[in-house]
Amino acid sequence: MSVEEVTQKTEQIDLSADQKQTVKHPLNTEWTLWYTKPQIDPSEDWSSLLRPIAKISSVEEFWGFYSCIPRASTLPPKSDYHLFRNDIRPEWEDPANSKGGKWSVFISDSKKPVLDELWLKLMLSAIGELLEEDDSVAQEVNGVVFNCKKKACKFGIWTKSLDNEETLKKIGLKFKNLVDTKLSTPVNEEQQQNSHPRKPEEIVFQ
């Protein structure tokens, strides 16, 4: 019997049925999944369209909600999924985002089967803290986003800051690699300035 097996056995024996329900593989921080509902009625404002769906604090809980929510590719147009750290709202107005930036990539509708794989990979990278490898700057990533438009989709990574260029570039590179492994043709990096004064600089792939 290997050390790993013994450890697992001990874990199983020690845990009562009730405790088994509790956290086994804790995440570095909690994450909240938000959904933006498309506007059906003009009276609905943005804040009522954006709603938290589930809060997760373990790997097991991630898979628990993932298994029972609609796949990204099946969402109606103008829906968004946002997976954000702790209680950060997926809005620029949130103090955690107001000084931050965003990496994003557009994917055309024709790549639909790839959307779900990409979104899963992006979420796993976020909760596994794989987008930033330096512990001293961990939690630079505030959240990851899937925006579903009628003809295209957009994936994004929201960051806490704009000034830590080195860290942001590393995150962008990881993002690019992640996207490239799922798309047959690699995307090109291109910087795009955003003219909106309240929105931080937007760095866009493609």
């Binding site: 329900q21 086994k24 593989h25 804790p26 995440l27 570095n28 959904y35 509902k37 498309p38 059906i40 769906i53 589930a54 809060k55 997760i56 604090s57 373990s58 790997v59 097991e60 809980e61 991630f62 898979w63 628990g64 909600f65 993932y66 298994s67 029972c68 929510i69 609609p70 969402l75 109606p76 147009p77 829906s79 990979k121 796993l124 990278s125 909760i127 596994g128 803290e129 794989l130 512990d135 961990a138």
Partner: protein, 56 residues
């Protein structure tokens, strides 16, 4: 404080141990998404009927 990290492989291995988070109602959310999809599809159909090109 050390950062808790999981590789993609480690995360994928834990998939069979899925636990539905407390305070999460999957049915409520799925119903919402289906309802919205349905309404939007109906509107699209309605729009096509009025403004679509030619008669099919």
């Amino acid at each position: 404080m050390a950062v808790i990290r999981y590789t993609e492989e480690e995360l994928l291995e834990l998939q069979p141990l899925a636990v539905v988070p407390k305070d999460f109602d999957p049915k409520e959310f799925n119903d919402l998404v289906s309802k919205v999809s349905e309404i939007l599809a109906l509107r699209e159909e309605e729009y096509e009927k009025h403004h679509g090109f030619g008669n099919r």
